[in-house]
Amino acid sequence: MPLEIADVELNMRLIARERKTGIGVGAGTSAYDHLWSYVARFQGGLGSNRVGAAYSGRHTIVNGTPLDLDLRSSLTSVLDGSVVSFPIVMGIFVSNLSTTSGQTIRIGAGGNPFISWLIATGDGLLVGPSGFKALWSPIDGYATTAATADILRLVSDVGTVSADVAILGRAS
């Protein structure tokens, strides 16, 4: 029996409270909550808004030795060791666990890069220490191409950095 994914939950929320005293009459404090939230649930399966494959792991990345995650052949299930393949990537979530200034993780570039989430080959993003990166595309997703465009590269700028990585996707 194949692996099954069900009941996927994404819950993301940021609140930043802005305050100012002395607006209008009186000395009271005015406040405004900047709220950004994204809460959604998804079922397993194929097609738009369905999740069919998942990988998560904690990795150690040494400066000078990039971590290359092959999205079509090298990732395996913790349950049975079978290959977890992502013809379509729906989400990439990376948490940089370092707390040391300058220990940035670079995502992208490298050989045979997974490129469809970017504009051009060689493009990529930075994730600073204690930082977090989330990219989510549940409808169209981001297509990979086996052997030629399926490598998600993570590079440590300085020293050795630990990172939590989660990838969600589906077969079609």
Binding site: E4, A6, D7, E9, M12, E18, R19, L79, F132, I139
Partner: protein, 172 residues
């Protein structure tokens, strides 16, 4: 001048992976829960892991007419209309509110490109329909450079796309 007080972030990605028939006996169902949590609270102020300014907006972006957010000059507080300047960006939070396939956002590029969150100048990425992009960098932050590197461009690939944007940062 307004100030940003406390800020909190909570991100959770959670999904179970199941498989039956592992080991002895075919009736049992094995289960593994993929979880990636990121929960933090921040105080106001300057310096690492402190939040000093925030700006949020819901915008409608028409294909061919990009939204250029000037992070150093144009933003104003909803409380008193004072300028919100973000010399150091700590976070970019973007939701693509479209649910139409193909209506993705292009994030980056443009004139006077804000580029400290990407690998090299003119890098850019896609945020799919119904998707999101979160970039959080609380320690080092991502500096802007007034008048030379302070424009965050968001473009619609096609049609007219609603987007929620929240930018969080500090003075130094």
């Amino acid at each position: 001048m307004t100030v940003v007080g406390e800020a909190s972030l909570a991100f959770r990605v959670s999904l179970p992976e199941t498989k039956s028939g592992l080991g002895i006996g075919a009736a049992g169902v094995s289960r593994y829960q993929h979880v990636l949590d990121y929960v933090r609270k921040y105080s106001s102020g300057i310096g690492i892991e402190r939040v000093g300014a925030a700006y949020g907006v819901r915008a409608s972006i028409v294909a061919g007419t990009p939204l250029d957010v000037d992070l150093a000059n144009d933003l104003t507080s909803v409380l008193d209309g004072s300028a919100v300047t973000l010399p150091i960006i700590m976070g970019l939070f973007i939701v693509n509110l479209s649910d139409t396939p193909g209506e993705h956002l292009l994030l980056g590029q443009g004139g006077i490109d804000y580029e400290d969150w990407i690998l090299t100048a003119e890098d850019a990425m896609r945020v799919g329909a119904g998707g999101l992009h979160v970039h959080w960098d609380p320690i080092d932050g991502m500096p802007t450079n007034g008048d030379t590197s302070d424009i965050l461009r968001i473009a619609a690939a096609t049609g007219t796309i609603e987007v929620d944007l929240l930018v969080v940062g500090r003075l130094q």
